[in-house]
């Protein structure tokens, strides 16, 4: 590989990006727009969920539970109603998302056995909100009843059992602050990288074909490998700058913690970009048209990154066949690495499985990409 020829190619690509409005817009604005949209729009947690309560008992316990709901930042107790019909109507007319029914024997059962049930009626039209509302409600009720339970177990001389039984409360899809932005925003870096990398690299070869400049290029001594490296290096550099921009924005604007090292961040991002740029490049070689190439590239990179990487939709909640499929989705490893770098502060040695998977992908994609383009007009 002749570095002078690579450099000539990279230099040319930089000039072309600078002069092409579409590329420039992708490079400068897309990351910001994406992270703003996703940062604000794609929140999965709900605050101030409108709530109706039907208290059939009206006891000290039931009133205390009602207060617990009122104190929770996740609920807004709109009204207490007198009968079940009013509750159903409120849900039907969209006045509330959740109705809590405290049964007439709530106190009795709580005092007898240390456990009691409340009924939650959830508006399921928005599945995600419904799940969240139900989850939050469970948390509030569990929190309240556990206090009662500890008392109950203590009274019955079962203090040890009380602690062991009450420790079972795992809901991995909440982060420690119960805030989905911390969970989602690190993953948006992957989304932005996939979107940008695919769009930019898918244009590289197709543009030469469309503008008729390929013929001259093929007639020079530049090799296919030099063309690929020379063309993709500028996009790698630009994408890394944009990744840094996204991370800075996540931290400064959305106040997402960034506990890991920058080295780890750029290393994993580079691996991911090699895969994305390589795929975009191969698609560009295969389709020879800028429009077609960018469409395919988005389909192959952005779609799996959105749906199957665990970026916003937790992988363990997906059905088994889809879950199996996610192991093939290279972005899953990057998203997982990103979350751990941002939230856990994981270092490179703690991300060995993710890095190993991405390295394998980078090598495979690199291998095929270097063979994808042959210097010929046929």
């Amino acid at each position: 590989m002749n570095l002078r020829r690579c450099a000539a190619m990279s230099c040319k690509e930089f000039i072309q990006i600078r002069r092409d409005r579409r590329s420039l817009a992708i490079v400068l604005f897309l990351p910001l727009i994406q992270i703003l949209l996703l940062g604000y729009g794609a929140r999965l947690d709900a605050n101030h969920i409108p709530l109706y309560v039907l208290d059939q008992e009206g006891s000290q316990h039931s009133q205390a539970l009602l207060k617990a709901f009122q104190a929770s930042p996740y609920f807004n107790v709109v009204k207490t109603v007198e009968n079940y019909g009013a509750l159903v109507r409120a849900i039907d007319s969209d006045h509330c998302k959740l109705g809590i029914v405290i049964p007439w024997n709530f106190s009795e059962r709580l005092d007898d056995s240390g456990r009691a049930t409340v009924q939650a009626v959830v508006d399921g039209t928005d599945d995600n909100s419904a799940q969240l509302a139900e989850g939050y409600a469970q948390a509030v009720v569990a929190n309240y009843t556990s206090g009662v339970q500890v008392d109950w177990f203590a009274r019955h001389g079962l203090a040890n059992q009380a602690t062991s039984r009450l420790s079972v409360d795992d809901r991995t899809w909440f982060n420690e602050d119960l805030e989905s932005k911390n969970f989602i925003i690190p993953g948006t870096v992957a989304l932005v990288m996939a979107l940008m990398g695919a769009l930019l690299s898918s244009l590289t070869i197709a543009r030469e074909w469309e503008r008729g400049t390929m013929e001259q290029l093929v007639a020079t001594p530049v090799t296919a490998l030099e063309i690929m490296v020379g063309k993709l290096v500028p996009y790698l550099v630009i994408s890394l700058l944009d990744a840094a921009l996204c991370a800075a924005f996540a931290v400064a604007w959305f106040e997402v913690p960034f506990r890991g090292g920058l080295g780890t961040f750029f290393f994993t991002t580079t691996l991911f970009l090699i895969v994305i740029l390589g795929i975009g490049y191969m698609i560009s070689v295969a389709t020879k048209s800028q429009l077609g190439a960018s469409q395919y590239a988005l389909l192959v990179t952005l779609l799996p990154t959105t749906m199957l990487s665990g970026f916003a939709f937790p992988i363990h909640q997906q059905p088994a066949p889809i879950r199996a499929l996610t192991y093939l989705v290279y972005s899953r490893y990057y998203v997982s690495a990103l979350k751990r770098i941002f939230l856990d502060g994981a270092a490179i040695n703690e991300l060995v499985p993710q890095i190993a998977a991405m390295t394998i992908y980078a090598l495979v994609v690199g291998f095929f990409a270097t063979r994808a383009f042959r210097k010929s007009l046929q």
Binding site: A8, C11, Q16, R19, T213, Q216, T220, P221, S376
Partner: protein, 317 residues
């Protein structure tokens, strides 16, 4: 001047699916020679050039360019050639200077040669002082000379020009051919395709190509004499269609074809067409307005030769 062959083409053939673009073409070009491939659009000229530049792989046959086999040593071939494609293929969104710098980089031109060659190319293209203009904004003549400049930055031994003057004004064409002749004098071998008959006269030697076959090869003069037997006469007459239909039966007429609004008629040298033709045509109700002895052009040769070819192809079927 070294007269060893710089390009040797041996039974080169190119088939695209069902269509054979080039059928077993052979020729040799000497160093420093300007060799023209003359033929109509679609005759296979560009396909030959593209095979010699390593852009297309031949279906069969072989060729060497400055001693390198085009199939096995395509990269070595590319280091020694310059190529100007039929369609302008520099980057319109780069400036003239940036285009030259890019191609100089790809050809490995470096050090003091880099600045010197770029300055030379800009001067040659008439773009010195305008090197920061975007290439897309340049006129046809400038673009063409810039493309030529980009193709020879690395001082190639062989230059391939595919329809280099298409869409360029006549003044720029004349200037362009001066540049080509200058390079030839410096020892550069030049293979040029054209469908402009007048331009073919600038070449040292020519191959006439029709439907993928070479129908004649030689200097322009040789080809004209080879193709046109007897003497050639310009006949202005009316009506033209009937004249063409009957004139071939006239005594001593070898061939006839329409050129513009008149006929070019080749006649056995022993005949006297000045008197015989008007008489013959008058008897077929064709009025002759003018008849004049002319010297054959390459176009005459081409029409005459390809007419023969078409006929023999048909009779072979």
């Amino acid at each position: 001047m070294n007269r060893a062959p710089s390009i040797v083409v041996d039974k080169l053939m190119k088939r695209f699916d069902t269509f054979t673009a080039v059928k077993q073409v052979s020729f040799q070009i000497h160093a420093g020679e300007i060799f023209g491939l003359l033929g109509p659009n679609g005759s296979g000229k560009s396909t030959i050039i593209r095979m010699l530049c390593g852009l297309l792989t031949p279906s069969s046959g072989s060729a060497t360019v400055v001693g390198f086999d085009i199939a096995r040593h395509a990269e070595e071939v590319r280091e020694h050639i310059g190529y100007m494609s039929q369609k302008f293929s520099l980057y319109n969104d780069l400036t003239a200077l940036e285009n030259l710098q890019f191609f100089a980089g790809l050809f490995g031109v470096k050090g003091s040669a880099l600045d010197e060659r770029i300055a030379w190319a800009l001067k040659m293209a008439g773009l010195a002082g305008s090197e920061r203009l975007l290439t897309g904004e340049l006129s046809g003549g400038w673009k063409q000379r810039l493309a030529l400049g980009s193709a020879v930055l690395h001082r190639p031994q062989v230059l391939f020009l595919d329809e280099p003057t298409a869409g360029v004004d006549p003044l720029s064409r004349g200037h362009f051919w001066e540049l080509i002749h200058q390079m030839s004098r410096e020892g550069v071998t030049i293979l040029v395709t054209t469908h402009y008959m007048d331009e073919a006269e600038y070449c040292n030697r020519l191959a006439l190509i029709n439907q993928g076959l070479i129908v004649a090869m030689g200097t322009p003069t040789e080809i004209k004499h080879l193709a046109i037997k007897g003497t050639l006469w310009l006949v202005e007459c009316n009506p033209l269609g009937r004249a063409l239909a009957v004139v071939k039966q006239a005594p001593g007429v070898i061939d006839a074809s329409v050129f513009g609004a008149a006929l070019h008629v080749s006649v056995d040298a022993s005949r006297q067409p000045l008197t015989e033709l008007p008489t013959f045509l008058a008897s077929h109700e064709v009025r002759v307005d003018r008849i004049e002895l002319i010297s054959p052009s390459l176009e005459d040769a081409f029409v005459s030769l390809t007419g023969d070819r078409t006929f023999s192809d048909e009779s072979a079927q």
